[in-house]
Symmetry: C2
Subunit: 98 residues, 2 copies
């Protein structure tokens, strides 16, 4: 499989509610419908299998680097990111060639 993958892991601030996370997940899940460059989009809360894990993951696949950059800078995506920011304690990301 060729392409370009964006992986981001978040931890939420103390007191973030399940409802808030579900709202974030719902808004993120809408993005494939409005950002045409998204080829695959997967997200979810940590399953609690290992201690010390982060809280939430997004894995997004694109045809190439430019398609990822279009997603990154897309106003619909930026709006969702801005909405998440108050909840984010930490963010770790990598983008890599598939």
């Amino acid at each position: 499989m060729t392409g370009f993958r964006h992986v981001v892991l978040f931890t939420w601030i103390e007191g973030t509610t399940t409802a808030q996370v579900e709202e974030v997940a719902a808004r993120l899940s809408d993005l494939p419908g409005v950002v045409p460059e998204i080829r695959a989009y997967s997200l979810g809360s940590d399953a609690g299998v290992n201690p010390g894990s982060a809280d939430f993951a997004i894995v997004a696949d694109f045809d190439d680097r430019d398609a990822y950059l279009a997603y990154r800078d897309n106003p619909e995506h930026r709006a969702v990111v801005d909405g998440m920011k108050p909840l984010i304690a930490s963010r770790t990301a990598v983008q890599y060639e598939l």
Copy 2:
């Protein structure tokens, strides 16, 4: 797509060489051949698109939680992880239901 996804992001210690990372990548890439529970396995170095990204990502898919746990505790996997440890500055991971 159902299943269980393991996502881990690493940063390497100062002075880690490209050759060392390539050796890690090679040993990790061997795992699908010896760990039957792996359904999909993708890894790569950060493409340098965004400042502040981590250095390396692994995204591994399994049929379910138990299959992931078998991978996590598999001696072949443990040996590769032990070999990587001296190079790891930080590790962030999430496992989630697909």
